[in-house]
């Protein structure tokens, strides 16, 4: 405390430096063309260190100007920067109106109130975060990091990789897009993480609710949109190095970026590498199928892994045309705890004496993306053309094993259990009217072509080809300065062609047992049904946003979204290696359709922020795995699970309070809840996230002059209640409470400013289970205490 008071005194002394010279004040307001104030806009005076951000009413004050001529620069994200020359002879006031610029975001993205401004313009419930949030809350991967946002959950696969869940919707019900292109991997699998480099993410927008209107199938539950990092405004060479270390799994990582902006050209490249060992869990035994099994040295065997990512962007910004090409490659390799592939027994979980090796079973995934974004400016209209190719190559390796004595050892790659190669070609075309004062029109078309091929000694997902295309329009009308209404309509056509697979080995194996009828043998050995199917879908959305004053925002939105059934849901038949269930697809499935009503209210002033965001969704035919009660004859399986469709209800919401109760202290609290119910059979839907409350107190201060420019110290408590609403054959999960600390500093040495982020997650080394995690079904608790340090150093 003494140190704190000393620091405070020092900062007071320093900030009140001695200015004996006669000075004047420049004040004014920055607004949009239509007069709406811009909060958090930057006003800077060239060739001086002076500048500030506008307040809630768009107003600013710059004191301490001596007499003379100055060039001022007013800028705001999404608007064209204005330069003006003024002469200061006395105190003076100016008003500046900025014109929207939908394309070029300037580099000064890190700004307090951008989220709010974005929120006030968007009809749907949206959470916006930027790279500083990702650094401060870094939890290993992007999904785990953004889990802190209300309504967002993560489904973890060990310590390294996770997949996103928004309001209880996961797998193929959440879309992730980068640079406007929907990422296509094997999202249907519980042990398949999201292939993205979190260091390469500068801004993320999470849309909680149906987004089929602009993104088509799969965005039924929400969208995580990663927006591109754009060129700096001035010619320069820039770079950044980030270092990360974690104690729990002994992770070491490095991410380095460098770039160049020269007139119309822009180049940027980033490389990231992270290596981690087996992760520690706060237990020495786990109980699986009533059998206690040891955990050696508190480490979960064979959960080590590494990640190697590369991304390069080359861009051209002309007066009529902007064009960017981004090539990125993400490679992730991670071991699976041997107990998760096959029945766990003592021999398999024995310590192998090495916490960093990646033995069998393991997975490695490579995701290559080539994206070309183009913007063509035509008077009042802008054309957007996005073209992309993606190759997702996922392999799972496990020592060759079979239940069928007649299955031969494969000649090549005998331990390649499964191999999926998914190629996706995407073309998006959109025409967007410039935001005039009344109307905003968007019209667009999308087309996707997918081809999935398979290999390996285990059959799980059939080969397929899929083509989808859609056309849509969105209209936004400003009823007044305070009320905006938006509505849109979309029509989609999709066709999928799935290749049949008849398993001759299984047929022979069942035949040899001399107890099954030819019909039974035919049923089991047909591992996938060959079908060609077409789907037509209509999506729409209508909403309004009302900003009665500078402090409040009301929103309401209703929308209809859809999702095409996956190839596994339509056509697979047989044992799923990960769940040991016999899962049977159904070729008669139709598109999943959902309606969502979402309401939001936000109040914010300089010290206080409050938001509440309830929603309710209804699905006319939600796809789920239904236990049939009929035994499968296949070895190591129980009953057959069949993909059925049911009416489903999902409801819940989020609530957030943020209160700066002292100029150096902020209290924040958020609550998230979701209720998922199958209305047809009366059971809860599987993977229902439990209620969670996050409370934190942050001690923060800011100083313009000191080396330690920015200081944030946050103590955080998360309370998660027990989840007893489970589907059949799920396990209930106990509640838990976690403590965490994070300290984030910005330090300035001369012109260089770097960030250091220190965190302790699970401070008390609490043993708890995450209801959604992949290892939950083995009764393996989540990671124990983790101490983490990230340092980010810019190079200019």
């Amino acid at each position: 405390m003494k140190a704190f008071i000393t620091c405070l005194l020092l900062s007071l002394l320093l900030s009140r430096g001695v200015y004996s010279q006669h000075t004047y004040t420049l004040s004014g307001q920055i607004t949009e063309i239509n007069g709406e104030p811009l909060t958090g806009a930057t006003i800077a005076i060239k060739k001086t260190q002076l500048g500030t951000l506008t307040n809630k009413k768009g107003q600013f004050t710059i004191p301490s100007l001596s007499m003379g001529k100055y060039t001022i620069q007013a800028s705001f994200i999404g608007f064209i920067t204005v330069f003006d020359t003024i002469e200061i002879k006395g105190n003076c006031s100016i008003n500046i109106a900025l014109q929207p610029n939908m394309v070029e975001l300037d580099e000064i993205v890190v700004r307090e109130n951008y989220e709010n401004t974005r929120n006030r313009k968007e009809v749907l419930s949206i959470e916006v975060i930027k790279s500083d949030f990702i650094i401060e809350n870094n939890a290993g991967n992007l999904v785990k990091t953004i889990e802190k946002l209300p309504g967002v959950y993560s489904m973890d696969v060990g310590s390294g990789f996770s997949k996103p869940v928004i309001r209880g919707m996961g797998f193929n019900r959440v879309a992730v897009s980068e640079n406007g292109i929907k990422q296509e991997g094997q999202q249907w699998g519980a042990d398949h993480g999201l292939e993205l480099d979190q260091f390469n993410v500068e801004k993320v927008e999470v849309f909680k609710g149906p987004m089929s209107l602009q993104y088509g199938s799969d965005a039924i539950g929400g969208l995580i949109a990663i927006t591109p990092s754009l060129a700096p405004m001035v010619n320069k060479v820039f770079g950044e190095v980030s270092l990360i270390g974690k104690s729990n799994n002994n992770l070491l990582g490095l991410s380095a970026m460098c770039g160049l902006k020269h007139n119309k050209w822009f180049f940027k490249t980033r490389i990231t590498e992270q290596h981690f060992g087996d992760y520690k869990i706060p237990t020495d035994t786990f109980v699986y199928l009533t059998r206690p099994l040891p955990i050696y040295n508190g480490k979960l065997k064979n959960t080590a892994g590494y990640e190697r990512d590369l991304a390069t962007t080359i861009g051209y910004s002309g007066t009529k045309v902007n064009s960017f090409i981004t090539i990125s490659n993400v490679y992730q390799k991670t071991g699976f705890f041997p107990g998760s592939h096959g029945i766990p027994d003592i021999n398999r979980v024995k310590d192998d004496g090495n916490a960093r090796n990646i033995e069998l079973p393991n997975s490695n995934v490579n995701h290559l993306k080539i994206i070309n974004n183009n913007i063509i400016k035509l008077n009042k209209w802008k054309g957007f053309i996005d073209l992309a190719f993606q190759n997702n190559h996922r392999q799972e390796w496990a020592k060759f094993h079979t239940h069928y004595g007649n299955q031969p050892l494969p000649v090549s790659n005998p331990d390649l259990e499964m191999d999926f190669k998914l190629n996706t070609y995407t073309a998006n075309l959109k025409i967007d009217s410039q935001n005039d004062s009344l109307w905003h029109h968007i019209i667009g078309v999308n087309a996707d072509y997918q081809h999935n091929t398979i290999d390996g000694y285990v059959f799980l997902l059939p080969e397929y080809k899929r083509i989808t295309s859609g056309a849509y329009f969105v209209e936004t009308y400003n009823l007044s300065k305070k009320v905006k209404v938006t509505g849109g309509l979309r029509f989609d056509v999709g066709a999928i062609s799935i290749k049949a697979f008849h398993d001759k080995i299984l047929q022979q194996y069942l035949g040899n047992m001399n107890i099954y009828t030819p019909n039974e043998i035919a049923f089991y050995s047909q591992r996938s049904y060959g079908i060609n199917k077409q789907f037509n879908n209509l999506s729409w959305s209508a909403g309004l946003v009302y900003n009665p004053d500078f402090q409040q925002t009301y929103k309401a939105n209703i929308g209809r979204s859809f999702r095409l059934p996956g190839a596994n849901e339509l056509a697979s038949n047989g044992v799923h290696h990960g769940t040991f269930r016999h899962e049977q697809g159904d070729t008669s499935l139709v598109s999943e359709k959902g309606y969502q009503l979402d309401i939001a209210y936000t109040f914010s002033n300089d010290l206080f922020y409050f938001s509440i965001n309830p929603f309710v969704s209804w699905f006319s035919n939600y796809i789920y795995l239904n236990p049939t009660g009929n035994w499968s004859v296949l070895p190591h399986t129980g009953q057959i699970y069949h993909y059925n469709q049911a009416k489903a209800l999902v409801g819940g919401g989020e609530c957030t309070i943020n209160y700066e109760f002292h100029k150096n202290f902020t209290y924040e609290s958020s609550l998230e809840y979701v209720y998922l119910q199958n209305l047809t059979d009366g059971y809860p839907l599987p993977f229902s996230p439990p209620l969670s409350v996050l409370n934190s107190i942050t001690w923060h201060w800011h100083s313009e002059t000191k080396t330690l420019e920015e200081f944030h110290c946050k103590l955080e408590h998360q309370l998660v209640t027990a989840q007893e609403r489970i589907a059949r054959n799920e396990e209930t999960t106990n509640g838990y409470s976690l403590l965490g600390i994070s300290i984030n500093n910005s330090l300035r040495f001369g012109k260089t400013k770097f960030n250091a982020s220190f965190q302790i997650q699970n401070l008390l080394n609490t043993k708890y289970y995450n209801h959604l995690s992949f290892y939950r079904k083995l009764n393996i608790p989540e990671a124990g205490r983790n101490i983490q340090l990230i340092i980010k150093i810019p190079i200019n």
Binding site: L289, T290, R291, P338, H341, G342, I343, D345, N347, R348, K399, F400, H401, T402, H403, G405, Q407, P408, L409, N512, M513, N514, Q552, Y554, I599, Y601, F603, F610, I612, P614, V616, N626, P627, T628, G629, W631, V633, L634, P635, H636, T637, G638, Q639, G651, G652, G653, C655, Y673, Y675, G682, Y683, P684, L691, R725, I726, A727, R728, N729, E730, T732
Partner: protein, 155 residues
């Protein structure tokens, strides 16, 4: 400010009224298997019937149980055995529907000496017992057993 709080309360009520609605008492409780015989490490003797003894119970009503015996030769996965002997697989289910609890004791699982003319492969096997209830809840247990030669003790 009055207007705000009214709106906020209305929304909060809307959210939590849905969450407070009482769940139907849908059965998600799995049946309980207490398998007495065979136990871990027991031998299933070739040419003899295996002694199965257990208690099954459920909070509502049981439906069926299934025995699944398959090889576990390398202790890891289920790699093919090196000899010409044929690995044995057994799958059979029994109906216990309508019962809330039951004691099972029978000798209906016979370990054959040959399969389609080839001798049965000796070694480690998994003995898995699955049980379902009427609602579709399922539980299972696994025992590591050995298939070998010998004469079973009389019970």
């Amino acid at each position: 400010m009055k207007q705000i709080s009214f709106f906020a309360i209305a929304l909060a009520v809307a959210v939590f009224s849905s969450s407070c609605s009482k769940d139907d008492d849908k059965d998600t409780t799995k049946p309980v298997i207490e398998l007495h015989e065979p136990a871990d490490g027991d031998t299933l003797f070739i040419g003899y019937e295996t002694h199965l003894e257990m208690d099954l119970s459920d909070n509502v009503k049981l439906k069926s149980y299934k025995v699944d015996i398959h090889n576990n030769f390398d202790g890891h996965g289920h790699t093919k055995s090196a000899t010409t002997d044929v690995a044995w697989t057994f799958t059979k289910s029994w109906d216990v529907s309508g019962l809330k609890n039951t004691h099972i004791h029978h000798h209906e699982i016979e370990v054959p000496t040959t399969i389609n003319g080839s001798p049965i492969a000796k070694g480690n096997y998994h003995f898995m017992l699955y049980c379902t209830d009427e609602a579709g809840n399922e539980s299972y247990v696994v025992k590591n057993v050995v298939v070998g030669v010998g004469i079973p003790h009389e019970e």
